[in-house]
Symmetry: C2
Subunit: 715 residues, 2 copies
Amino acid sequence: SQGLDYDNIENQLFLEEERRMSPMGFRCLEVSRWVVCGLIGFLTGLIACFIDIAVENLAGLKYEVIKRNIENFTETGGLSISLILWGGFNAAVVMLGSILVAFFEPIAGGSGIPQIKCYLNGVKIPRVVRLKTLVVKVFGVICSVVGGLAVGKEGPMIHSGAVVAAGVSQGRSTSLKRDFKMFEYFRRDTEKRDFVSAGAAAGVSAAFGAPVGGVLFSLEEGASFWNQMLTWRIFFASMISTFTLNFFLSIYHKKTGELSSPGLINFGRFESESVEYYLYEIPLFIAMGAIGGLLGALFNFLNYWITIFRIRYIHRPCLQVMEAMLVAAVTAAVSFTMIYFSNDCQPLAPENSEEYPLQLFCSDGEYNAMATAFFNTPERSVRSLFHNQPGSYNPLTLGLFTLTYFFLACWTYGLAVSAGVFIPSLLIGAAWGRLCGILLASVSPNASIWADPGKYALIGAAAQLGGIVRMTLSLTVIMVEATGNVTYGLPIMLVLMTAKIVGDYFIEGLYDIHIKLQSVPFLHWEAPATSHWLTAREVMSSPVTCLNRIEKVGTIVDTLSNTSTNHNGFPVVVESAGNDEPGKLCGLILRSQLIVLLKHKVFVELVRSRLTQRKLQLKDFRDAYPRFPPIQSIHVSQDERECMMDLTEFMNPTPYTVPQDTSLPRVFKLFRALGLRHLVVVDDENRVVGLVTRKDLARYHMGKHGLEELQLAQT
Amino acid sequence: SQGLDYDNIENQLFLEEERRMSPMGFRCLEVSRWVVCGLIGFLTGLIACFIDIAVENLAGLKYEVIKRNIENFTETGGLSISLILWGGFNAAVVMLGSILVAFFEPIAGGSGIPQIKCYLNGVKIPRVVRLKTLVVKVFGVICSVVGGLAVGKEGPMIHSGAVVAAGVSQGRSTSLKRDFKMFEYFRRDTEKRDFVSAGAAAGVSAAFGAPVGGVLFSLEEGASFWNQMLTWRIFFASMISTFTLNFFLSIYHKKTGELSSPGLINFGRFESESVEYYLYEIPLFIAMGAIGGLLGALFNFLNYWITIFRIRYIHRPCLQVMEAMLVAAVTAAVSFTMIYFSNDCQPLAPENSEEYPLQLFCSDGEYNAMATAFFNTPERSVRSLFHNQPGSYNPLTLGLFTLTYFFLACWTYGLAVSAGVFIPSLLIGAAWGRLCGILLASVSPNASIWADPGKYALIGAAAQLGGIVRMTLSLTVIMVEATGNVTYGLPIMLVLMTAKIVGDYFIEGLYDIHIKLQSVPFLHWEAPATSHWLTAREVMSSPVTCLNRIEKVGTIVDTLSNTSTNHNGFPVVVESAGNDEPGKLCGLILRSQLIVLLKHKVFVELVRSRLTQRKLQLKDFRDAYPRFPPIQSIHVSQDERECMMDLTEFMNPTPYTVPQDTSLPRVFKLFRALGLRHLVVVDDENRVVGLVTRKDLARYHMGKHGLEELQLAQT
């Protein structure tokens, strides 16, 4: 089964190493952890910087060319050629990105947040933190954004940060076949998980300029056991990441050393005067939160069905690429149509922030307001919606934009391209939020004083994003940090909470839906509330395959090769006198450890005969980590099958156990708090009666009609 | 021993109640939790509001009277009368506050943060969350601040919030002898701890206008097991708390409904233009962090010796009151002297923010700059240092102020008054930080562009505070939220980290010193790194008193009365055949549970004879919580001593256990992650061989020379 193991590393070899280590050694380790976190932050910041500059230049080039083309054809007629140019360009770029994802690394598709959530939760998804994934992710996201899809470049940063962390912390790259012989101590699941948390945080931090938000994101999604030192390191990585991004962007923008600019998305500065809000606005905010929750639920519901459809019918890579191209072309066509038929002309102010104002059929000195929303990278559109003067958009423009962009974004998420859903959600929300602000100002005569459309755009953006992804604490902090102003803390929190409550009533959050569709054994925060009547006896797998402390090699090979059980951890028992009675527990050993033992042929007979042979060391396990070979690849001769293996030194001699009557919530708490993967159930004589795995726990789920059991994938 | 129990509540009674409860019941519970958190936030905000308004008015009155007096005597001569008036007034007010603390509730002294840290860590300090403590705390802090001591009103808010939480969540007040029959489900350590976390967060939030900082404070100091829903509730309480404070203060300041004002201390708005910083300033910031760490270590070192002195010689309440009065008088005298001899006259700008400008010997239209720092509440002084125009203070003033205030604050912390150390630390730091800024500007000709003294005052304040209290993550966020600007995130973090690293090299943080002086079994985040060679066998208490499942009342009474062991949890064993062999574990029962059983005379014989008597219910345990009577108060007759008690229903039938060879770090992790108080050590036949308590773990400590054992109080 897929799973990461955060506990069962304490065997005799490990303890001996720890005992040998001096206090100085531990201090060095601690320093290396900080160094690794600093590196993670730095590299994540660099990647963010690269993506930002690449997108800015390529998108700028594209909009410049198309703008000139449109301007030419507006006078002479024949705008359909512009449409074809635009659509063709988008489709071509998206095809590139989609081919990368669909053919080379499907796991790099989407935002990567569900995958990282699973990883931090303890579910091992193959290839999710490999270098190849990172490369595909980075180039994929550039193609998606430049290709004009309704996507953002922020979500993928989180995945990128996680991959960087997994790579740097291990001091080697298996893809590149390079081992720097560094950080070997960190080659185990616990340490790696901690660094991946730091990487995810650094990714959030670079994406939104939100270091605290990043830390909270990591904790909200991943950590179950809060550790002060770990949290500081995560925070450090986050800070270095934003800092690096700021520093290099400041050089790029020729303002070297001015470190006050934020992350990839920049909500712009909300001025102190315009950010005030009044008590009577709170109910309005809450109502908007409810709208966000409803729209979010609708979004998730539609996307759920699209995803089901995709799983059934669009699983071949070439079909996936074609769908992505289709979406790109349709996006361009819809945008073009909307701009073409819009007659929302606005005067072109000299200080106007639009970079690509389209005049189209407007009179001179005016520009098409619909184009501000469609003919721009989504990040810029969000900023325009937040900060443009009241009156920059007419309500019809905003309404139509919300409607079309909603469906485009919904269709886009889940395509075989690397792309995030944060920015499209913010954009949809900002559009209808601004609409709300305008309507309020028109309904109430004195509302124009307080109903600043920018403020309502911000609230709408929060509501929509909260309704789709359902995060609260970390999202509040991310939004606050991205606006650079703490004043909106309370309204944003209320809005996000309302959106979550309303949305949860209908359907889960978008990431949870996608996790569920993968049917992985994902553990939530707590056992279902009504599960106290279930005990370990009922949830455990039984009978369980046990190994003797000194076991025949043949038995071990057969056990590992048995595909029907396919367990990853085996209780080790003292040989019992009676054969039908279960043995007394004396340890726990992992499949991966057994495979290393078999590979090195650590058999009692051989060790005795070849006294000169070096003892198996912890290093051998670390070198094999994390890609242990499958049992099929290990050749054991018929003679060797008769040898014996002594597991004493390699098993975890003190696995955590529970009695049979332990209630599910207690078992669950033990799993969650200690990051267990296997928990041995013993009777009152300390005899093994069963084994609880992550999957046994993940099955139970609180449905509408009480406790329900889920079907999980048999992998 | 002192301890809170977060685990051993799952006995048969509890499980039966949980099983009877419908999904609807659980939902109601969840809603009540939110309601309770909302109430906690609301009441904490109200208390903060009350303290703020009381201090503002009383201090205003005081400064007004003294100012008029000084102005009179400046012309006529005889300023010594002003000094006597000032000193006498201060001493009188402080006496009031000190009498409250010293005679009525000594636990209400100080900031309360060490006590709350202990409580959240799982150490039970008597009377720390009682109503009486709250009342003394609130009036005490008003007296301290109005009495002109070098203290802040912020620290005590954290304690106040915690008390409010403990009270509200239990739905009754033992002091007032009122039981509202509400929230009875929450009458147990786990739930209460969660609410106290929320209360502490609400306190931070109200004190600094920092809801996110409050959440992080709670997590950094308290929670070991991160739970998403809990964190949201804590965040909710924090938000409501700031919101309530803002709302009522906005009414008080006659700007009803303008919710944009922050917490008790308000660092004022750092304008966007002046907040920028450059890469080359980073080393300067780090150097200031190091200075902060050094000065903080010096502060802590001096305070440590003063505290030792106080413990030895000033333990009688009347002496404590006299010391407090002495400090108050000296503070006034020193302030007066400093102001008197200062010749730092500054022009009185019309828009000047000083509320009580003292002219003294300055010419007309000028005021004494030293008085801005001394003749003011510390909160206002901090704000002046952050925001007054460059040139408002001359360097000599700042240097002298730093020096005197440093020693005053150091002497003041630990007095028998209710007061916090946050603001004095900030003030000291702001003063020398501003001094640094001025010196920088004078050294380098073009530095005046970037070396804004206000910015350096902020950095200095962070460095000094970090050097004294050694928090990093939560403090960074608190500072960022209090400045209302996220730009300073990175510098503040770097400064706090440097201050911590430098300070930790010399001596622990102030709160940790005070916790250590109380010698309570405080568990840190992780077991000492070099403790892998220690096993449960070495750390456990052994032999351990076990009870039989069906035990004679006399034995139980004797066990509980035995003052030499004084354990709080007893393993329950199946009666073993052989007498010298330890019994097989079948459960764990707490002293408090046994006392309730004895009080209700739940004896096998009586239950049989009085069939009509109602069964003992969970409610009986909850009603007795948390002030279980001592065993001495329970009368058991000689006849009753011969009766038997059946513990089956009341014990925890599935206590967590570990084998004897489990390493200390694993035991530690189990304790910390699950909030255990007792962990049974068993042999491989499941027989009890020992018991690990919190105290057994807290003994081990990483000293300069490797692992050290501490002496802990025998209570």
